[in-house]
């Protein structure tokens, strides 16, 4: 696909169209690379954790230790510390969320896979929708539909006049801003990160093939920067998985609290 950009005159920078990958088989339009990667992530995560947890013992094996470390991180540092009492109910969801997002993000820099599925906005939308429904459901179950909605729209302990300003903000926050920011933050980070890598790698490729000598000399710098950015991307990918899970836990904790 890189060759596409050599047809015209001059360098054609990568665009949003570079994320629009063709179907792998001509007659199955929905089976694209990100779809395949998402299924692959399910298999990879399942196999890894099932193997590491299968013979979970008091004295862990190396594999168990690795899987347990990730699980304990989500369980203790995210679920327990944020949600507190009764956090165990949400551990399976938060654990799935973290490992699923993290694995798909990391696919962005794994050789040969090299595509973050979360840069296709459909996947973050689905995850944000799940989180959205869960934290509202939890809040309604805990406080009853009426009280829950009333507490969101009319925050207790605020002077009545302030509601004119506060009510629209609060309602928008809970029903629009939260799910949107949750999904768009993840999507935009993965999208921009991948685009950035494309710019430097494809730019370097273009410079290598350019007829001017000076371009050929500077091409390695472009590649080097692409590699540096790959390490940076690794950090961003981990961070985004963490943030998505952390915010979901915070929203659940907020819905469980007696007063928002």
């Amino acid at each position: 696909m890189i060759n596409l950009h050599f047809s015209g005159e001059g360098f054609v920078p990568p665009s949003t169209n570079d994320f629009n990958l063709p179907p792998i088989f001509e007659n199955i339009p929905w089976l694209t690379k990100p779809v395949l990667l998402v299924f692959l992530s399910v298999i990879v995560v399942s196999v890894f954790f099932v193997l590491s947890a299968r013979k979970a013992a008091v004295v862990p094996s190396k594999l168990q230790f690795a899987g347990e470390g990730i699980y304990a991180f989500v369980r203790n540092d995210l679920a327990r510390d944020v949600i507190g009492h009764d956090f165990m109910r949400f551990v399976p969801y938060l654990f799935t969320l973290f490992t699923f997002v993290l694995t798909n993000n990391l696919f962005g820099i794994v050789p040969f896979l090299q595509f973050p599925a979360m840069s296709h906005v459909g996947f973050p939308y689905v995850l944000a929708l799940f989180s959205f429904f869960i934290f509202h459901y939890v809040g309604i179950r805990k406080q009853g539909l009426g009280k829950y909605l009333k507490d969101i729209a009319f925050m207790p302990g605020v002077p009545k006049a302030v509601y004119i300003l506060l009510t629209p903000i609060e309602v928008a926050t809970f029903f629009l801003v939260r799910p949107l920011t949750l999904s768009l933050r993840l999507f935009a980070n993965m999208f921009a990160g991948h685009l950035l890598l494309l710019v430097f790698i494809m730019g370097g490729d273009y410079m290598v093939h350019d007829s001017h000598m000076i371009m050929k000399i500077f091409a390695p710098f472009s590649f080097t920067f692409g590699i540096v950015l790959t390490f940076f991307e690794f950090m961003v990918q981990c961070l985004q998985a963490y943030i998505f899970t952390l915010l979901t836990a915070l929203y659940i904790a907020g819905a469980l609290a007696d007063e928002h």
Partner: protein, 177 residues
């Protein structure tokens, strides 16, 4: 839903519009992973955590129990030791008292024996003196009679008279003493 028209480069797609297929696939894949992790990963790890906690707490409890037992044993040893010391000192006192009693008894016995021996000696001395006095009296009597007969020239053969004279003589002698 977008179509994949790759040849036409001019087509600009809005990256914020999701593919329907990806929404469905995302939901299915995530649910699948959730079910697997919830069923056969989370419970296993939780079980291991619980077992580990229990092992640690059990170990602590066991150590506490051992310490308690050791303290109890030490206390009982100390008690035994102090009671043994008390017993020893009591025995020592008893022995000392017994020794003193024996000594006292022996002393008394010795004194008694000494007194008895002294008394016997006194008696025998008295008897001998009595005997000596008697024999002396007889001898002195005979001597005196003999002396007197020699002086007066009269043979005093008559036994009765003789002894009367002697007795009177001795009485006079004792009176004048």
């Amino acid at each position: 839903m977008r179509t994949f028209n790759f040849a036409a480069e001019a087509e600009k797609v809005n990256p914020l519009i999701p593919h329907t297929a990806e929404l469905v696939v995302g939901a299915i894949a995530f649910t699948l992973l959730f079910l697997v992790l919830r069923k056969s990963v989370v419970p296993m790890f939780e079980k291991a955590f619980a077992a580990r906690t229990e092992a640690i707490e059990g170990g602590i409890k066991k150590a506490e129990q051992a310490q308690l037992e050791a303290q109890r044993a030490l206390a009982s040893y100390n008690e035994q030791l102090s009671s043994a010391q008390g017993e020893a000192s009591r025995l020592r006192d008893e022995a000392r008292a017994q020794g003193a009693a024996i000594l006292e008894e022996l002393r008394t016995k010795a004194q008694e024996e000494a007194a008895r021996i002294t008394a016997a000696a006194h008696a025998s001395i008295e008897a001998e003196r009595q005997q000596a006095v008697t024999s002396l009296r007889n001898e002195v009597g005979a001597l005196a009679v003999e002396l007197a007969s020699k002086i007066v020239g009269e043979a005093l053969d008559d036994q009765a008279r003789q002894s009367r004279i002697v007795d009177r003589f001795i009485e006079d002698l004792e009176k004048s003493k």
